[in-house]
């Protein structure tokens, strides 16, 4: 674990510092052998390290209290009496043992003082290290949770996209079927042509919804099929103009993104108007942006209080896919409404 490695490095640094301070304290003191400071600090380091290892072995046990810091600290500090006793016994045992092997004698304060002194020192240092361990563990937990959250969000975004993926509206399908059913009473060939267009459109839209990206070229083919069917329905009622820049055609775009916009132009422009309506579709590259505008004459924005699900879906899809780098605006334009879409040419 990364957290443990950082802890180990800090621990080593701390003890090096402690030994260095001890050596410096006794530097030039003739009455003290060179190895004595090493023994003093070394024995403390040894005993403390053993206890640290014990604490780390039970890390999982402590971690369940990370969310309640008081619990976490209290449960650690409950061990202090036994830590103090074993610590003092261990270090003084070691020191006396080693001294016994040499000609030196180990002189120290009376035991009662030692016990007090070491206890206070231990509690202070234990508090310091518990603070450090708590910080490191909390950080590791936070990072882990954030990673989990990110993956979760990614999955969520994917399923959202799947849901938002535009489909031909049942409204449109039933109306087209009805036009065919009416037309075939009077003009079998026209009805047949319309039926074929509808089949083509269904096929393209099914293909489109199984892919993550398509090109503007493919999407425009789908739009043209849709427009042809709608033109059959509203024969003298609508004219369409396409102004597509050649160099924009290969731009990758999410499939079925434009269709709902064209559908809106028909729904709010053509279907609600008694006058002939003009629809204009323009697409061009502008720096590293693809700009698509779908304009319809003869409708107003304010007349649409609940500006449909189609539009909201488009916006949500753009947000999930491009995170603020794409935009879709609806605005009044020349006694009509223009839907303006801007996408980055290079996704990712």
């Amino acid at each position: 674990m990364k957290g443990n490695r950082a802890l180990l490095a800090l621990w080593a640094l701390f003890w090096l510092l402690m030994i260095a301070v001890e050596i410096q304290d006794n530097y030039g003191d003739r009455g003290i052998q060179w190895w004595e400071p090493y023994l003093w600090e070394g024995s403390s380091c040894f005993a403390a390290t053993l206890w640290l290892l014990v604490e780390r072995r039970a890390a999982d046990h402590w971690n369940q209290y990370l969310a309640q810091p008081w619990q976490w600290f209290a449960r650690h500090l409950a061990w202090m009496p036994i830590v103090i006793v074993t610590f003092i016994a261990a270090i003084y045992g070691i020191r006396h043992g080693i001294y016994a092997l040499t000609t030196e004698t180990y002189e120290h304060e009376p035991w009662s003082f030692i016990f007090m002194y070491e206890s206070i020192k231990l509690v202070l240092f234990a508090g310091l290290w518990l603070g450090i361990i708590f910080g490191l563990e909390s950080f590791a937990r936070w990072r882990h949770e954030r990673e989990q959250l990110l993956t979760l969000q990614k999955h969520l975004a994917e399923s959202q996209l799947a849901q938002l993926r535009a489909q031909l509206q049942p409204h449109f399908l039933f109306n087209a079927l009805n036009t065919i059913s009416s037309l075939m009473q009077v003009d079998v060939e026209r009805a047949d042509r319309l039926l074929t267009r509808l089949a083509d459109l269904l096929r393209s839209s099914l293909q489109a919804s199984s892919r993550n990206t398509t090109s503007l070229r493919e999407e425009l083919k789908l739009l043209e099929l849709y427009a042809q069917i709608m033109q059959e329905r509203f024969t003298d009622h609508v004219t369409l103009n396409w102004k597509i820049a050649e160099d924009a055609l290969d731009t990758p775009i999410p499939p079925m993104l434009l269709q709902p916009l064209l559908e809106n132009a028909f729904k709010h422009g053509v279907e609600r108007s008694r006058r002939p309506v003009n629809i204009q579709v323009t697409a061009e590259k502008h720096g590293d942006e693809l700009r698509v505008t779908i304009f319809n004459s003869d409708s107003t924005l304010s007349a649409e209080p609940s500006s449909g699900i189609g539009l909201r879906n488009c916006r949500e899809r753009l947000e999930v896919l491009y995170r603020g780098r794409a935009s879709l605006r609806l605005e009044p334009h020349d006694s009509g409404v223009a839907a303006r879409l801007a996408l980055p040419v290079n996704p990712s």
Binding site: F174, S181, S182, L183, V186, E271
Partner: protein
């Protein structure tokens, strides 16, 4: 003979329906309309017995056309729609006739059979045949709040919120707005039912738009004067006092 009006904004759809209706001996198609306003005008002038009314149309939807009709004098209505889940649920609930597009001849004939029996019942019972359809349509369009008024030879749509007050006068209702006064051949009660919550009666023959009321001043015996924002001063009889006060939150 049942006189039928066909309303649909798509030519092929009208052609098909007219052709199939023409095959019925007891039906005659007396007119065709391509949008809602035209339909409202034709229903008033031709007084058909039955209307095949497409819902989705430019200008004024079929539901809105129906909502403007007075149930007492309305023709039988068969709504025609390709896809409108919401309305269809309401039609089923209230047993309103409708035809789902696309339809074949069998389905049309079934609808016609229902239409004939409904007409027979209505004639025998003296009830208005279009009643349920109109009430259902009003419930569906309730929030849209638009009113169809005659303007010279033509019909015009105005916002219900632009109406300041209404005044009954024999068989007519005068509709007062800031700029104009329209005369509708309707009863006040029916108009109030169509316009809904926004309006409240202050007199047997007068109703006001609540948001246009400026102030009230008491007269004798519990009667009040109602001062409208537009300047008009109307008399409120005490019979209607409680309702107005209640609605104005007093």
């Amino acid at each position: 003979m049942i006189r039928v009006l066909v309303v649909d904004d798509e030519t092929p759809a009208r052609d098909k329906l007219r052709r199939w209706l023409a095959e019925q001996a007891d039906l005659s198609v007396v007119g065709e309309c391509a949008d809602g306003l035209e339909a409202a005008a034709s229903i008033a002038s031709l007084q058909p017995d039955a209307v095949f009314l497409d819902i989705q149309m430019p200008g004024l939807s079929g539901l809105e056309v129906a909502a403007q009709l007075e149930p007492a004098h309305a023709p039988l209505i068969v709504f025609v729609t390709a896809f409108d889940e919401h309305a269809i649920k309401a039609f089923d609930l209230n047993a309103v006739d409708y035809l789902l597009k696309p339809y074949d001849k069998d389905r049309l004939i079934k609808t016609l059979e229902r239409l004939r029996s409904r007409r027979g019942n209505a004639v025998a019972g003296g009830a208005s045949p279009g009643d349920v359809a109109i009430r259902t349509a009003r419930a569906q369009t309730g929030a849209s709040g638009r009113l169809l008024v005659p303007q010279g030879e033509q019909l015009q749509l105005i916002d219900a919120s632009s109406v300041h007050w209404l005044e009954a006068d024999d068989n007519y209702v005068h509709v007062h707005t800031a700029q104009a006064r329209y005369m509708l051949r309707r009863t006040l009660s029916d108009l109030l039912e169509q316009l809904g919550e926004r309006f409240v009666r202050i007199h047997k023959s007068v109703a006001v738009n609540l948001s246009e009321v400026k102030s009230l001043s008491p007269l004798f015996k519990g009667d009040h004067e109602v001062h409208m924002r537009g300047g008009a001063v109307l008399r409120m009889s005490r019979r209607y006092k409680d309702e107005l006060f209640g609605r104005m939150g007093r």
